[in-house]
């Protein structure tokens, strides 16, 4: 469904991604793990076209999107839950969700809204509250809900567990599995490698802007090098 071929990305003169080639198939949960600064977020944002890849090709559903601009890519059935959630803190929960369905019709919006609120009853309780007044976990739920409002076929999640209490992290991960069961393909960037690999079908490991390892989730979990570097021995 998503395919990157030899993608390089630069910030000015600094090269952040080196020759990245990855594949995500329909219905999979694929995770990308790596240390801080390895280039995980850059990779995710390059898929969204911001920043643009300086060379290489990105395909979504067989269509090349490497030179398409960001809003157009996002209207092709891709949605993102970015690093740091980035909910609109001065907009209400409902308005945030509405923004997620900006290019959808009213009927589709109503339908998606009912679905998202069913998945996150907490958001329904807070529907007319400003997003900025909610807790981190609630904001993360809102960010995921907002991404789902456009009815994407694939969701990119960037560190959804960052800074959340363990019990909330459990909830977020079970929601991610639920989404996959509904047929949404998941590409998950995580530092919380243990949890991520547990639910993932496959995983990629990044170091210094390069993909250094790829295998099934279970195999990576038991790989001694991965255990040593990312899972605390």
């Amino acid at each position: 469904m998503l395919k990157l071929e030899n993608v390089n990305t630069h910030y000015g003169k600094i090269q952040a991604l080196h020759d990245i080639s990855i594949d995500v198939h329909t219905g999979e949960i694929v995770t990308l793990i790596g240390a801080n600064g390895a280039g995980k977020t850059t990779l995710m944002m390059t898929i969204c076209g911001d920043p643009r890849a300086s060379s290489g090709k990105i395909f979504f559903d067989g269509e090349e999107i490497s030179s398409v601009n960001t809003p157009e890519i996002m209207r092709k059935g891709l949605a993102v839950v970015p690093e740091g959630r980035r909910v609109f803190s001065r907009l209400t929960v409902q308005e945030n969700l509405h923004m997620g369905a900006y290019f959808r019709s009213n009927a589709e919006y109503e339908e998606s809204l009912a679905h998202v609120l069913e998945l996150f009853p907490r958001l329904e309780e807070r529907i007319s509250q400003r997003a900025g007044t909610m807790s981190g976990g609630e904001q993360q739920m809102l960010a995921i809900g907002r991404a789902m409002m456009s009815r994407p076929r694939m969701i990119l999640l960037d560190e959804p567990s960052l800074g959340l209490a363990p019990i909330i992290i459990q909830q977020i991960f079970s929601i991610i599995e639920k989404l996959r069961d509904e047929g949404v393909t998941i590409f998950l960037v995580e530092q919380n490698a243990n949890q991520a690999l547990r639910i993932a079908d496959r995983g990629y490991v990044m170091e210094n802007g390069r993909v250094v390892l790829s295998d099934s989730g279970d195999a990576l979990l038991t790989n001694p090098e991965v255990r040593k570097a990312y899972l605390g021995g």
Binding site: P71, R86, S89, R90
Partner: protein, 308 residues
């Protein structure tokens, strides 16, 4: 009521009248700043062009022998809003959009260039002298004691109050209820994220310029009828005042722009009333400096804090 109080009431009426038109222009500055973080210094010229269009249309209609005042005002309003909006849209498209993503200083200089260009373009096409119109809306209510001081509230002033109130009500509804208004607010918080939701933010930005220009044109119509004269240089001072009002109220905040405009108008009127009127600009801009010293983000501006 004593003479001093009646005199004060008169100054407040005058100040709120001017202030409400400053507010209309200031909204254009504040909306653009809120979304792309840029000061559109050509905005005052859009106001000036709106005033000219009003004059040209009214003179034309009077020349054609039209007598119905509401109809004349309505046609002048529609045409000047349409043309000024086209200017606003074009300015963004030609002078700012190609420079987006560059150093912040570059579009600012482009804006100043645009302002000089528009001013001189009007000088060349319309001449640099004042153009005057006969008063369109005359008459007033007077109250107070004829022996002490008579307060006059003219129909023209009432017209300005009502027109700005309706305009702001419309804008508030648009911003808080409509789809595009919601997108404007989302953009002013996080334009990158709005892009990531598949919203064409270029269209949102263009819309902001169109709305700002339309409000400036309405202010142009109201103020040019109030003063009865226009020249190509009125945009500079009005722009500077409205910009001050926007900063005073907290740039980026629409209620702030309105409050800033009203405060500035009243301050000017009171200064001109009790001191030599040359001091009114000194006091207006002095007030700006004071408020910025003690409240750098303006009266209603949001300090840059975020809950993590």
């Amino acid at each position: 009521m004593s003479e001093t109080i009646l005199y004060l009431i008169q100054q407040l009426i005058n100040g709120l009248t001017i202030g409400s038109t400053y507010a209309l222009i200031a909204i254009g500055y504040t909306m653009v700043y809120g979304i792309i973080g840029m000061i559109n210094f050509a905005h005052g010229e859009v106001y000036m062009i709106g005033s000219y269009i009003t004059f040209i249309v009214i003179a034309g209609l009077l020349g054609m022998g039209m007598v119905s005042l509401p109809l004349i005002l309505f046609i002048a309003l529609v045409i000047s809003v349409l043309i000024a909006s086209t200017y606003g849209w074009t300015i963004e498209r030609v002078a700012y959009r190609p420079l987006r993503g560059t150093n912040r200083l570059i579009p600012l200089i482009s804006a100043i260039g645009m302002s000089i260009f528009l001013q001189n373009y009007v000088v060349l096409s319309q001449g640099s002298r004042d153009i005057a119109l006969p008063p369109m809306i005359s008459g007033s209510w007077t109250f107070g004691d004829p022996n002490l001081f008579e307060v006059s509230f003219s129909y023209m002033q009432l017209f300005i109050w009502v027109a700005t109130f309706i305009t702001m009500l419309g804008l508030t509804l648009f911003i808080s209820r409509s789809r595009m208004g919601r997108a404007c607010r989302a953009c002013s918080e996080d334009i990158g994220m709005t892009n990531l939701l598949g919203v064409d933010t270029n269209r949102v930005i263009a819309m902001t310029f169109i709305i700002g220009a339309a409000l400036a044109a309405i202010a142009g119509l109201l103020l040019s009828l109030y003063y009865g004269v226009v020249n190509p240089f009125i945009g500079f001072m009005a722009g500077l005042k409205a910009f001050t009002a926007a900063v005073l109220g907290g740039i980026g905040s629409i209620p702030g722009a309105v409050l800033g405009g009203l405060i500035l108008g009243v301050t000017e009127a009171l200064t001109a009333a009790y001191f030599p009127s040359e001091y009114k600009d000194v006091v207006a801009f002095g007030l700006l400096i004071l408020i910025l010293l003690f409240r750098p983000s303006g009266l209603l501006g949001k300090p840059e804090v975020e809950k993590v």
